[in-house]
Structures are given as structure tokens and as C-alpha cells.
Assembly symmetry: D4
Homo-oligomer: 172 residues x 8
């Protein structure tokens, strides 16, 4: 049976950003489960979710957090599954705080960090990780890439046809 992806966040205020990860996984036909579980407010439950993840059939974990973003690192401490961290821009420091708090993990416990608010790419990365051992998924990823390329080509063709002003007028 195909492995699924566990998506966590510490607060429901992060859900609007983190649903990007769900969308990517749906685009690629990968199953997932979304949980709210804070590294600081329910630390034991959070540890348990990480410890049991492999057993429950998850192949990767995605965790989004803002500020002193400890959730991805705390999960990574409790599992050897790959953990993908999404720094979330939640205020004055514009996500730089979350980026540093996620990416600068100490020797021994890596977190695979993506862009600030980059939840969609976190979903893609999880799919790429699962695809290492899943050829059908690897094929779907290739098709997804081809579709993306075609969209860029199409926009360029439209721009050649419409010109800059025409293209911008159409978009608004």
C-alpha cells in the first residue's frame, strides 16, 4: 500500500497556509492526514504523533510553524522519517524568524526546509520523496512537470500574441 504524508501545524491559524501542502498532494494523488498539535502546548501528544508515524504508514512528515518555529525540529527528534519544515510568516519578522528556527538544525537531526509560506512545495517535496520508491508516483511527477512547462509556454505564446499591454489588460 502507498505511504501517506502526515501534515502538522501548531495552531489553526496556520491552516490557511498549510492547506497548500494538501493541494499539492491531491494534485499528485498522495494520501495525507492533517493534524493540529503544538510543540509547546501539547508537547507529549506531538512527540507521540512523530514516534508513531512510521508505524501508521506515513512516509514523510510536513510541519508548518511561525516565529520560534520548533515544531518541525521537535518532530524530527522523535522519528527518522524525513521531516519537511515550512516557515510561516506570522508577523513583524516576516518569517525570517521561522526560517532560521527551522533550517539551522544541529548536526544529527536535519529538517528539509522549504521557502517561507512554501506549503505547496512542501507537498511536492513529500511526493518526490515517496516517489523514490514508487514508480507510478514518479511518473505522475513527470507528467506534472510537463504540464507546468506547457502552462509557461502557453503564457509566453499569449504574451507574444497580445503584447504587454494587452496581456496585462486581459489579466485584470
Amino acid at each position: 500500500m502507498s505511504k501517506r504524508v502526515l501534515i502538522l501545524m501548531g495552531s489553526d491559524s496556520d491552516l490557511k497556509i498549510m492547506k497548500g501542502a494538501c493541494e499539492a498532494l491531491e494534485d499528485l494523488g498522495v494520501g495525507y492526514e492533517v493534524r493540529i498539535s503544538s510543540a509547546h502546548r501539547v508537547p507529549d501528544k506531538t512527540a507521540d504523533l512523530a514516534k508513531g508515524a512510521a508505524q501508521r504508514g506515513f512516509g514523510a512528515i510536513i510541519a508548518g510553524a511561525g516565529g520560534a518555529a520548533h515544531l518541525p525540529g521537535v518532530l524530527a527528534a522523535h522519528t527518522t522519517l524525513p521531516v519537511i519544515g515550512v516557515p510561516i510568516d506570522t508577523g513583524s519578522l516576516r518569517g525570517v524568524d521561522a526560517l532560521y528556527a527551522i533550517v539551522q538544525m544541529p548536526k544529527g537531526i536535519p529538517v528539509a526546509t522549504v521557502a517561507v509560506n512554501g506549503a505547496y512545495n512542501a507537498g511536492l517535496l513529500a511526493a518526490q520523496i515517496l516517489a523514490v520508491g514508487d514508480e507510478a508516483l514518479a511518473r505522475r511527477l513527470s507528467e506534472y512537470r510537463a504540464k507546468m512547462a506547457a502552462q509557461v509556454e502557453e503564457k509566453d505564446a499569449d504574451l507574444q500574441k497580445l503584447g504587454v499591454e494587452g496581456y496585462l489588460a486581459r489579466r485584470s
Copy 2:
């Protein structure tokens, strides 16, 4: 009996900085215990140290960490004792990573953050916290402040006597 201070760090490479906290506590006659316990490499032991700290007679916790510095926040999640965080400059990002990862804690779980590499001040702050309920310690803090002030006065007097060049010559 007087409360003591629990000092933690995740790696023995932080000890050279963190011993500043020991020095401050010794200067003020406050007892302490120093432990190496990583939030990422031994997460369960670390949680246990925090959970048992109040019971074991500690009145405050000091935690130093560099990079994605999760240790102070992870400890704070497991105790309601005040946790003082010391961001440590461990590399390319010069401690800004650790500062953001410690100070930007989410609503509900504060960490009392001091300056980058400010372990000595962390010790003083722990003493100030314990002194809220310990008048003898409060008096020692006042005397410590008076001694600091006298040292500044003395340096200024020396400077007036020696002049800038003379003063700098004497120091080297």
C-alpha cells in the same frame, strides 16, 4: 531552603559560554546544577528534566543553545518555572538564528531571553527572579550593583588621572 537554578545546554561545546551563568550565580551565592541534555538528541530525558525541576527544588531554569535553538522553548513547554534562554553564536549567522529561535516564542509559552552569548546576565536574571521571594538574596544583589557602580567610578577616576593614552598604555 533556598531554591537553586538548573542550567542546561544541548552540547558540551556550549559549556565555555554557559559557565558565565555559573559564575554569576556563584558571585551571588545561588546554588545550581549544570546538565548536558539535547532537545533533539535526547528529547525524552530533556522533557523529564523540565518536568521534575520544580519538584527537585529549582526556582528557575537557564538554557543555552545555538542555531535553531529549541532547547529553552522545549523546556518551557514542560514546566511553569521561568525559563531563561541564552542564544549562542555558533557559526555563520552569528547568533541571530538562535536569538530569533528563542525570543519569538508563541503565545502561551514565554522564554525570558537575554543577549547573544549573555550567559552571565542569565545567571544574574535567575538570581533576580529568586530574589523576589528571598530578601537576603535581594540584599546581595543590591550590594553587587553597588560594587559594579564603584568599579565604574574607579575606572573613571583612573582615566582622569592617567589621561587616554596613559590609561590605554596601562591596560595593554
Copy 3:
């Protein structure tokens, strides 16, 4: 009698943020007094407030400031009570200026710094400090933590029931 918390800010424009500290202290049943007193515009009065704080029954001071945020450090220079600093985001530098101006205090005079705009956590931290010598308050803090945990659990349960789209729809 229980100790109270003195809350200061230099300008009434900071009050909207700083009332978060009042809310936290009310949530935990801790008394407080709120004052407007600028380190730069009324420096002598500000010094007097700090000097008299212990005498007047305060056990901790919370000071919020933006920009070249000197208020917490100036207060800390005049008392050995723990001073908690709240960096406030007041303009172009997004509170990084205030954070650096508060957290980077020199050896000898610490300020317990919390997150940018983190006034609520400053209130919690003050309560945690007072609770070191006040068992009833310590118990209220534990109950507060349990309530926070229950809220996270409840949100997670709702999310499992409603799904991502349903949950987000309900919130808006």
C-alpha cells in the same frame, strides 16, 4: 500579601499592544498597575518609578517600547526586580530595532526579553516569576496550561471531524 506587577510604556500609542500584558495577568489573577512614563521625555520620573517599585509591593516590572527601545533597560538600571522587556513594532524596522535595543543589554543589567509585540507572554512570564514564591499562583499557571492544551486538542478534533475545507469555512 501577593506581589503585583508594574507595567510601563513610554507613549500611549503602545497601550494597544501592552494591554496584552494586562489580559494575561487578569487571566492568572495577578494584580498590576499600568503607567505611561517615557525614559526620554520624563527620565527622572521614570527612574523614580523603578527605584520605588520593590517598596510599593511590585515583584516584577514589564516595560514595552519601540524603536531605540531604552525603557526596559533604563528601569533595570534602577532596580534589582526582574524587568521584562517587550519590543514593539512601531515602524519601518519592524521591531528588530526594539528587539536589539532591549535584548542586547550589557553585562550586569539583564532584561528578560520576549517576542516582538509579545505583551501577553510578558504577562505570563511575570506570573511565572511571581509563582516561584506563590504556590497558589503556580497552581493557577498549571491549570492555565492544561486549558491551553485542551483547546489545542479540541481544535484538532474539530479538524478531524470537519476536514480542512470545512474547518476553514467555519472560521470565516
Copy 4:
């Protein structure tokens, strides 16, 4: 047959940092190939290495780069294998330039970013990715984690025995 890891860097000046990735993979018994291939100086060869990687039995790619660090992203554009990026501190901007140039990838093409100079963790992360489909490797990762934990415990035990001064004296 077990999948291997392809390690790339644009300049041999990065090799001193990047050999950390080799060490991690050796610690975990994962095969690898190390190549020098610049995204800017030999762009076509670099593209070819990425395009052919899956075919040649690689399951993940690690790429290290400093400054305007394009190598990981350029590789990611030519393969759906997971690409791990290592920002390298090569000068005045202390690796912040490389971090931003690697982690902030656009929607559609993620790069799994680790800490500045974090090549060792990049190796671990590659192993964790391959372990999703390789139970023997997953077991080796668990053993590795246990060994790390034991080392921390041992250092803490030594510290309790020797005290701070004794411990620091022994290390120097």
C-alpha cells in the same frame, strides 16, 4: 540494489565543507558519487547530470553552493528526484545569500534546504529519504540515533563527575 546519492558542487573550494555529506553517508552505509559541476560554468553538463541521475540509480541529490547559489535549484529543474541544498558560507554575507538563493524556490520546484554549511545533515537527510523504501537503512538510522543519544548521556555523566572546570580542563 540499493539506491545511491549524487553529491555535486560547483567549485572544488566547496569540497572541504561538502565532504561532511560523504561522512554521513559512510556512517550510514549509503553509496554515493561526488562531482564538481558548476551551474554557471558548465551548465549543460550540469543539466545532463541531473537528467540522468534517476536512470543511473541515484535516489537523491545533494548540492552545495555559496553566494548566488543556483546549483541546487538548477538541478531540481531537471529531475524529479529530491534535491537537498546546502548553503555554503563563502564570504561577506556569511551564507545568508546562499540560504536565500536555495530555500526560496518558486512554486513547482522545491529544494530541501539544510543549515548553512550543514553538509553532514544533508547526508543524513538523504539517508532518511532512501530509508523510506529501505528497512535495513531505516534500522541503521535508528541505531545511529541511539548512539548519538548515548554520547550525550555520557557527556552529561562526565560533567556531573568532573564539574564544569574539570570538564573544560579535560577538553583543552
Copy 5:
């Protein structure tokens, strides 16, 4: 025949900013072609556009990109024409990510970087580059500068006449 300028961007969302380059080139009577071609989503087509640019009569390339902005550097790897990079502010990191990812190019492959969102100046710079071998264009540039200077003089004259309040009132 006069050389033209090739303007590229990776996404049509950058067009609103990048049309500033078109305006500058029109103001100076320089021909141009605008293309959408992503370094990550259609890397081969992007390489081909750079490789063929000199042959097709372009004398300079302008490329705008945000985030991990690789497009200018990727183009520069495939041509010896001068490449001008425009960092675009596309989100939380306010264009600092794009600036670093464009300006910090490694030895051997320069990119002429302009201000964040500075597409208009990129157009001017391209014109200045073409004008090195085109005296008529150089003259148009001098006239353009004289016109700019006259506008500043005129505004100053208006300000002297209207006063600060009057001038601001007129503008709103």
C-alpha cells in the same frame, strides 16, 4: 541595424513590474522583445533563448525574478551578452532574497544588478550599454538626462512659489 534588448521573466506575475523596462526602452527608442520563460519550469527553452540571443540581434538581456531568483544567472551562463538582473519583491523577504540570489554571482559569470523592482532602470542601463557603440542613442540618453534635470528644476521652482503646504495640496 540597431541592436535590441531581450526581456525575460519566469512568470507572468512579474510582468507588472517588468513592463518598466519596456517603458524605459520606448522612452529611448530602443527595440525589445518580451518573453516568459522560467529557469526552473522550462530550463531548456530558457537556455536556448540565451544561447541564440546574440545571433538574433540582441545586444543585452534583462531578466527579472523574485525569491531564489536564478533566471538572470542561468541566462548569463549561456551567453556572453551583458545580462541585467532585476530583483523582484514577491513576498515575505521583500526582495532581499532575490537581490542576494542575483547580485552574488560567482567569479566568471557576472550579472549587472539593479535595485529591487528597478525594472525601469534596467531598461535605461540596457540603453546605456547599447549606446557605447551607438552615437545616436548616446545623444538621446543625454537629452533624456537633460529632461530629467529640467523636471527637478521645475518642481523646485513650483515649491518655492507654492510653499510646502501649497505644493502638497496641489499634488493630492
Copy 6:
């Protein structure tokens, strides 16, 4: 006759911020002249304004600029009058660009820099400079300070009377 203050900016888009300097000078009864003159678009006129300023009875110059803010430094190169620089927040880099471009002047040519968008304080500083040789102005400055202090005292008194909620309600 009393010396006046010359206020310059490179673009009329800065006038909205820079009129703060006019207000401060009016509050203190100091005369001024406001000019639009760009260091880059009309460099010779700008140099002439600086060169002739002392002769025309100006005792200080205030210059506001955003981005690569050269105006204050360029003026300072052409006069030995004190030049006060106001970094203006004009875009993505939030005035940090202007701050660095103004404050980091090389040895030999200082610029007295104030806060980002701090035009009002620039006016006060100019007045403080002129007051060194103008006792009547020095007295007006003291009265201004006393008035500021009284306003803070009054706000604090209102807050004590109205309470936090009442005070905030009144303001909105």
C-alpha cells in the same frame, strides 16, 4: 541675525515626510528654506546649494533621501556646515538601505543621521545645533522639553483615571 536651516530632498515624493522637519523648526521659531534638488539628476546645482549655504546664512543642512540615499553625503562633501541625514522608507528594503547609505560615511565627512523617517527629530537636532550659539533658542528648547514632559504626565494621569479600557475607548 539668527541662522536658518536649509532643508533638501531629491524628489517631491519625499516632501510628505520631510515637512516634519519644517514643523519642528516652526515649533522652535527657527527659519528655514526647503529645496528639491537631486544628487543624481541635478548634481551640479546640488553641489552649488551646499557650497553657498554658509554664505547665505544657513547654520545647518537637513537632507532626506531613500534607497541609495546619497544626498546628505554629497552635500556634506561640499560644505563644513553640519549636515543632518534623514533616511526615508521608500520601498521594499524599508529604509534600511537609506539608513546604511547615510550613516556609514567614510572618515573625514560625517553626516548626523536620525531615525528612518525621523524628519521631525532632524528639525529638533538642527535647532539644538543652532542653540549652541543662541541662548534664546536654547531657552525655547528647554521650554519645549518641559511641555513634552507635561504631556506625558498628563497622559499618565488620564490613564490612572480612566483605566486601560476607558483610555483606549476615548482614543478611538
Copy 7:
């Protein structure tokens, strides 16, 4: 009688940098007094120094400080003399902390900020301020500028004579 300059710093560790201010004042024949007086360790003495400065014949104050650099702002709160602040690079944050803590003063109390470690320029600026009311000093400033210009001209002449390699060889 000519006015003098009061130079302050909070710690004798800043003296090595701050003597640059003395050198500049000596180069220009301006008298000065140097004092060690900390805003945090001897706040009342520091306030008294500021309050009495005008009375004692000082026309400007220079204050250097690192970290949460409060000294210049604290002095400015107690005098209407112009206060020049020198941010000092004292550690991990490389003087950015001191720069923000000095330059971002609130409305009403400006500090004239110079470059990080720019004590020499602080001395020049103080001289320029005193020269507003002292024509002899203004002439010495003009002569100083002419001498600086001549030195640059001389270096350029040497470079034309010796060539790049020859010039560099001579310097080492």
C-alpha cells in the same frame, strides 16, 4: 571662551575606539573631556553629567556604546545640547544592535548618529557643530578639508607613477 566637547563611554573597553574622537578634536584644536560613565551601572551620575554639561562650558556631547546602546539617548534625555552617538561593534551582532539602539530615537529626543565605530567622524561632527558659532574653527575645518583633498590627489599621482603593482608593493 571656546566651548569644549564632552566625550562619554560606559566601559573602558570602548576607549580604544572612542579615542578616535579625541584625535579628531585635537586635529582641529577643540578642547574635550573624556569620562567613563555607564547609563546602566551608574545611571544617576550619568544623568548628572548630562544635566551639568552646558553649564560647564560644553557645546556638544559625544557618546559611544555597543549592544543595547542606551548611553547617547539617556544623555540626550537630560540636556538640549546636541548629542552625537557612536555605535560600537562589540560582538556577534556586529554593531547593528548598537546602530539601531542609537539612531531610532523617538520623536522629541534626537541623537546625531555616525557610522559603526565612527568615533573620528563624531569628533569632526562635534567640531562642525561648534564651528557654526566660531569662525576660526570653521576656517580650521576648511583647511582640514583641503589637506584631506591634497592627500587623495597625492595618492592618485603616486598610483599613476607606480602602477597598481608598484603601488601595492610600496604599501606592504
Copy 8:
């Protein structure tokens, strides 16, 4: 006759970095002249050098500067030749100050900015600009690129032969 490149810096302390530009131009057979001329200390001479540059046969200008790096922008204000700016790391702010002060030029006056300390690339960029109208130089640039590519290929071949340890041993 082939156009040459004018290389300027404000201080001879920048010559060690700026000779990288000379080396690049020599590698490509482009003539140049190197001058020391400060935007702040000899502003009129600096303006004259820019104004006369086109007339004297220069086709591009390279200017290096640190701190509040005004030189490139000041030159650009006085010529329509392309001006290439090299931000130099001269102190605490690590060249970020110079980068912002050079790259963030206002609308109308662009500066082609390269990496911090990137003088060699500035030389290459100048050559690429001159090559737009000089086919022989364009060919030399292509050959230069081919040689660079060959060097990378050779290093990679050596690495395959020697292995990581062997390769690193040989280099030291």
C-alpha cells in the same frame, strides 16, 4: 580604436580588492586606467573624471566603494556611460551597507552592481559591455568561457581519479 575602461576608487585601501578588475581586463585584452578619486574628499575632481570619460575614449566605468558607497552613483550622475559598482566589505556591516548604497539607485540613474568584493566580475562585465560593439573581444570572451569550463571539467576528472580525501590532500 578599442574603448578602454576607467576604474575608480575613493581610497587606496580599496586597491587590493579593485585590482581584481584590472586582472579580468588583462585576461581579456582590454585597456584600462586606474584612479583614486573620492566622491566625498575631492568631489569636483571626481565629477570631472566622469564628465570627461566618454571623450577620453572610455566605454565603461568601474567604481569600487565601501560603507556609504556613493562613488558609483556620483559618477553615474555625471555620465551616460554604463557605470559598474563594486560594493566593498570594509568593516562591521560586511559590505551589506555598500551593496545597498550602490544597488538601490533611484529611477533615472542606474548602476550595474556586482557581488560584494566582486571586482573581477566587474572587469568581466565591462568587457562584456564593450564586446557588444567589438566582435574580436566577443570571441575572446567565448574562448575565456570555454577555458573556464575546461578547468571545471579537469577538476572533476581529477576528483574522480583521486577521490575526496586524495583530492583534498593534494590541495593542501
